[in-house]
Amino acid sequence: MTLLLAVLALVCLVPAVAAVLVRNLIHSALLFVLAWLGLAVFYLAVGAEFIAFAHALVYVGGVSMVVLFAVLLTRPGRVDPLPPPSTQRAIGGVAAVALVASMLGSSIFWTRLPSMEPIPMVSLRRLGELLAGPYLVALLLVGLILTVALIGGLLLAAPRRPSEGGDA
């Protein structure tokens, strides 16, 4: 079990790291998709079947499309008005991340975690009952948030009509 999970973790982690380091934006986005797919497989291996498929559907089917669209719509123009980014900033950022990473790693590996047996799987029916029962209000709220977010996104991204003026 541990070995399988470790291999899958690598499958997931390598594209993610590569995605952050690669210069080409499209490659980066596609590598992110690969990382998400890996994560879905990881979920599947852990036993969260429904979550895995929902994750794949939302990220690979939805978010990646939006990202690619955004990439294509915002390709840099001929002249970039800014000076190139300084390496100083990068060093600062990496230092901050290193701090966090050392903290997280130390706290994970030096904590004695209780070795528990994996709890029994949750059936899909039970999950549905939970969502329609105690978490119904939350579910409706999330639906509302999604609707508002999508309409908001649409309004933000839609080009202003010239008649409305503004500084666009």
Binding site: I26, H27, L30, V33, L37, A40, E49, F50, F53, A54, A56, L57, V60, G61, G62, S64, M65, L68, F69, L72, S123, L124
Partner: protein, 406 residues
């Protein structure tokens, strides 16, 4: 072997059990630890073989039917009735030179067709092709199918972008817009089925459609008002999802010189072709499973015909429908395409969602109340359809011709 006993139920008939018996016979001599693995390999091989052949003969059927509709014979030289034509095509595609543009993104250009075929295939794993004939049994198999299908647009995008060609890039953009737009009604039209069947598993959904009302009227979802509406929305969205005419904008030959396929040749081109037919077959198989009762026979007296044969018949009918539509409809414009989805299919599917919910909530109405239930459901389909169709076609009308006045 229980060959001697007379079949008590259709499930026990010899023909019905033939595939399972065959598998057991092939894997019977193996040690127990290996048996599930070999069985899985066998299912994969069977699916690949059957759908590969289906692909080969679908291309032939499409060419012949299109030919007939356009009043010409279609391929008829290679073998009797042109039956060997697909194999000739395959040999040609394999032996052609594989050209990759110099400016192309080499890795992605190579990966795109492979990924596309792979993604089109894996959805087939959860389709129940017959009684007990499903490769992978799981609780959330409908979700799995659509999660697998959702990724195909990525492959098309990769192909379009990697070609470094403005037509291809335009095709990629179009493909993204089109597939995002039609993913929504496709999924929404499936939700009422899940609500009514109460399960996300394809086998459960097929089982829920078993039986007949009054011995004549199968309990298929497509034969209820809400189910019919959902079926229609699903099929239109499936047509668009598989980039088939009249929604074949990403590869529109006359505008984009075949779009994302422009820079592909030889075997890679054939792979794209194959992926299109496999995707079409997968979506049709899903439609059969969700709406047309899967492998269930239409009449009780016809149950002696094995279940996988029924599945095949329904699948072929839907595929022929795809070809027929291709031969008869003109292509849409991109604004008409998105308008059809967001202003018509999505609201229709949303209303249908409520309709399906009402149907599920009133499952215990019998007798006269059942008639009222059908009436309400039919009203929930007809009224929104009329109003949405009117608002969709508002502004379009019969063309008025103006002549110079004397």
């Amino acid at each position: 072997m229980i060959l001697a006993a007379a079949p008590a139920s259709p499930a026990d008939a010899w023909l019905e059990r033939a595939p399972v018996l065959l598998r057991d016979a092939l894997t019977g001599w193996l040690p127990d630890a290996l048996r599930p693995w070999v069985a899985a390999l066998l299912s994969i091989a069977t699916i690949l073989g059957v759908f590969g052949l289906l692909f080969a003969y679908m291309t032939l059927a499409e060419r012949k039917i299109l030919g007939r509709i356009q009043n010409r014979p279609g391929p008829n030289r290679t073998g009797p009735f042109g039956l060997l034509q697909p194999f000739a095509d395959a040999i040609k595609a394999l032996t052609k030179e594989d050209i990759v543009p110099r400016a192309a993104d080499q890795v992605l250009h190579f990966l795109a067709p492979v990924v596309l075929v792979a993604l089109s295939l894996i959805g087939l794993a959860v389709i129940p092709f017959g009684r007990n004939l499903v490769a992978v049994e799981m609780e959330a198999s409908v979700l799995y199918f659509f999660a697998a299908g959702a990724a195909t647009e990525l492959a098309i995008f990769m192909a379009g972008w990697a070609s470094r060609n403005k037509y291809s890039l335009l095709a990629a953009m179009r493909a993204l817009a089109q597939l995002i737009s039609y993913e929504v009604p496709l999924l929404l039209s499936v939700v009422p089925v899940i609500v009514v069947a109460g399960s996300l598993s394809t086998t459960d959904i097929v089982a829920a459609q078993g039986g007949w009302a009054a011995g004549l009227w199968p309990h298929w979802h497509a034969l209820t008002p809400w189910g019919f509406s959902a079926f229609a929305v699903f099929m239109v969205a499936a047509l668009a999802e598989s980039n088939r005419s009249p929604f074949d904008l990403p590869e529109a030959e006359s505008e984009l010189i075949a779009g994302h396929l422009t820079e592909y040749s030889g075997f890679k081109y054939a792979l794209f072709f194959m992926a299109e037919y496999l995707g079409m077959a997968a979506l049709s198989a899903m439609a059969v499973t969700l709406f047309l009762g899967g492998w269930q026979a239409p009449l009780a007296v016809l149950e002696f015909i094995p279940s996988y044969a029924w599945f095949g018949v329904k699948l072929l009918l839907l595929l022929l429908g795809f070809i027929w539509i291709r031969a008869t409809f003109p292509r849409l414009r991109i604004d008409q395409l998105t308008r059809l989805s967001w202003k018509f299919l999505v609201p229709l599917a949303l209303v249908n969602l409520i309709n399906g919910g009402v149907w599920a909530a009133t499952a215990d109405w019998t007798g006269a109340a059942a008639v009222v239930r059908w009436f309400i459901s039919a009203l929930g389909v007809v009224v929104p359809f009329i109003f949405l169709a009117r608002s969709l076609s508002a502004g379009y009308g019969p063309r008025t011709y103006r002549y110079a006045s004397p």
